[in-house]
Symmetry: C2
């Protein structure tokens, strides 16, 4: 699957397919680190420095970036501004993404007011809630509308990404309606597993899952410490493991 002209076609083809999921998941982290460097006026950065800032191994960083193309200069490093642009382009952040947030409870409020979206090309264009008491309120400069209007809002506002911040039981139905409008990207904060047709991407953020994973490792550390404190031989002393993020 590696023809001679692949090298020529790389820039076109590899941007359409072939970037590993694990790499895509790290690009936003690199982007954030680079943006910070740019604000501090740093012009170029080595893979070693950037890797440290992003909290990853430098070889991994180089391999990740190599999937986008050869944007570094040997002996020097990467030009910060240029790399910011290339990663932004690859992630699709050079265009505006119009987002609807469904569910304006505590979390919906937080999301609507979260500054990190706007700076990355995401515009929250509508807020929906099922509760008549919430509908009509103004949050983050937007009037909250009824979930009854979901289909109208998506069409009228040209929404392409839906964010679900509702209680669990309501999420699947609203997700189905989002999918019904043609939306194929959903970010789900509700504590349920959504089922969607093929071709629709769902990403899930679960607050309590993260705490549970921490609790597991904390328990494990406590158990290990207990063993050490009990004064056993140093047989397990090599177990200085670190947990990957």
């Amino acid at each position: 699957m590696t023809t001679p002209q692949d090298r020529l076609a790389r820039d076109t083809r590899e941007s359409v397919r072939g970037i590993p999921d694990a790499t895509v998941a790290r690009l936003p982290v690199y982007l954030r680190a680079l943006t910070e460097l740019a604000e501090r006026g740093v012009a170029t950065v080595s893979s070693e420095e950037l890797a440290t800032a992003a909290g990853v191994n430098s070889a991994k960083l180089r391999k990740d970036l190599s999937h986008l193309g050869s944007y570094g200069t040997r002996g020097v490093g990467y030009e910060v501004e240029y790399l910011v642009y290339q990663i932004s382009r690859e992630l699709g952040l050079t265009q505006e993404w119009r987002v609807v947030i469904i569910g304006v409870g505590n979390l919906g409020h937080a999301l609507a007011n979260y500054g990190g979206f706007a700076s990355r090309g995401f515009t929250v264009v509508a807020l929906l809630d099922a509760d008549p008491d919430v509908v009509g309120e103004h949050v983050a400069g937007l009037r909250v509308r009824s979930t009854d209007e979901l289909e109208d809002v998506v069409a009228a506002e040209g929404v392409s990404i839906g964010v679900l911040a509702t209680p669990g039981p309501a999420a699947q139905d609203l997700c189905d309606r989002l999918v019904g409008t043609g939306i194929t990207s959903v970010l789900n904060f509700a504590p349920v597993v959504l089922s969607v047709p093929e071709g629709v991407d769902v990403r899930k953020v679960d607050l309590s899952t993260e705490l549970q994973i921490l609790a597991f490792h904390e328990q494990r550390k406590a158990a290990r410490d207990a063993v050490h404190a009990a004064g056993l031989t140093a047989a397990d002393e090599h177990d200085a493991e670190e947990v990957a993020q």
Copy 2:
């Protein structure tokens, strides 16, 4: 590394070490699905059913559960209540985890009021904020205290997990102070990469990262659709890929 007596020692040893990270990350999902089944009065469940509910492959589910021990019955399935207990125990949810939330902005509010914590053994025992205007407010039944009191609060309340919901710039300093008190588990919502000494676990939840990953796939889908619409040959027709969660 597989001695004959490993089988006997499995239950003791494997609960302390040897559960793959990927498995640990899925246990909370299984737990949620099982809790739901228990509430509906379901007594036993097959790996096939549970896998569907959790959105994973059934073989993967069985292998995950096998790491905890042989808690299923061939020909029957798994007893729901028993499995709930075993997973809870493995994750350390049979004990109370005392949590401090630092940063009581929109997100901090949402976290303080989030019901999903209490039901899993996590108790929010203190809220801290640097803003004098916020200090003294009552949120989720707790009086917000100053971040100046961080060390006192952690010691007095027996906090073992810290949650950072501050703006980016404040996070590293507060994280250092948490670590200084002896805390080794931190959940970070601030948009920065925290650096911590060995032995401290940091998990990061980044709202905008998730949207960026969605945007990448959305862009990719749009590009593919454009190719199809352009009426090329059916050479790429097999590309009906699905994106893993």
